[in-house]
Subunit: 125 residues, 4 copies
């Protein structure tokens, strides 16, 4: 059974510029959690959208068969790093169905850490 969708979108990205506490556990971050329940490695492409310039990408990575993969937006550097403290959005296209969740941890205003999570928006496929 295939599980999930091949197209996802996330409208509310924003990596906080500052962090408090031990790294990397308490580093402020935006995170994608990607589940591939299938028996074939999946190829993923991200496009990053901004408020005031053209989209950037694709950012490419793989999700192995029968594995979860955790990708910090903070760590995406090819073709370029995502600037901190900047609103962005993201579309995800995979060649196989995935389940995608998004989490933000914001430790920039010590001790006012906040965490939020949501399912990314499944477009279909």
């Amino acid at each position: 059974m295939t599980t999930g969708s091949t197209h996802w979108a996330l409208a509310g990205g924003h990596i906080p510029a500052e962090s408090n506490g031990p790294e990397p556990a308490r580093t402020s971050r935006d995170v994608l959690h990607l589940l591939n329940t299938g028996d074939t490695e999946a190829s993923v492409e991200l496009l990053i959208y901004y408020a005031d310039r053209e989209p950037m990408g694709p950012y490419r990575f793989k999700v192995p068969a029968r594995r979860v993969k955790v990708v910090r937006f903070n760590d995406l550097i090819d073709p370029e790093a995502i600037p901190l403290a900047t609103d962005y959005a993201c579309t995800l296209t995979a060649n196989l169905p995935l389940v995608v969740q998004y989490t933000r941890l914001d430790t920039s205003h010590n001790p006012q850490a906040t965490e939020s999570t949501l399912a990314a928006y499944p477009i279909g496929g």
Copy 2:
């Protein structure tokens, strides 16, 4: 490929009346994040619903092609500002498909900041 939906709704709006910390980063707020992945500027209309009076609007703005737009409900003033500390709901109608996410930051009870986010509810279209 069109991405998203043309009709969205949000039932749980509420802009906190007070804030703590530097503005505008820590101003309590309700926020819409709107992603337009298409090649044409999108026109958006919001209606704001209240508990004890008729709906107000439309509030109108544009989302440029291939851009994300971040709209603070706090900043909507035409036809009138949304009162603080008041329960409201919102429907969104666009002429092109969008992906919409909603975030609230509440810094009114220092140091008890809370953040929450959810996908707005896609009605269809």
Copy 3:
């Protein structure tokens, strides 16, 4: 245009037993936000499910035409109050389509307030 769904469910209800801060703004609570975009008053029935006894209800209330209504589970007392610090779930049936969102504010562990929100789960209709 009708907006929303007539059947919703919420699996993770739990009203914290304690609160800190001024009432009612900082009272720990579970809340439903219900939006009726139509021109007719809607009638709603809730059933409350527990882990160790039969469901209780129906709890009945109205959502006026073109209005949002905010219902604290804490305030539901007919046919009986929902016990604090107890896991419960909820199903909602309306005679007209509504949009439903759920929010919890937990101020029981001062100063560790937490807030979370999600769309209730639309069953259909």
Copy 4:
């Protein structure tokens, strides 16, 4: 009326390794809330996915008729306990429709407790 779906997935599991405050109320945890609105006991199987090894399971339990059941991932021990501080994902298969919600409480960084909740992702069925 059957309520919900028979297949669900959750991509962003992670049980914090440390806790602060009285147990079990303030123990860091990942939790599933499962609602069975039907008149027949439901049988559930979970599979747990990891980043670097094969999936583990099935973990099996029942959800009684007309009841909500709350399952802490922390308490799943057969066929093996889920390691703390480790990214995991989860798929859920039931023989009857359920409504599933997911909550995380993280009290590991006192006093920076964070809580987040989302609907699990309904796959269909």
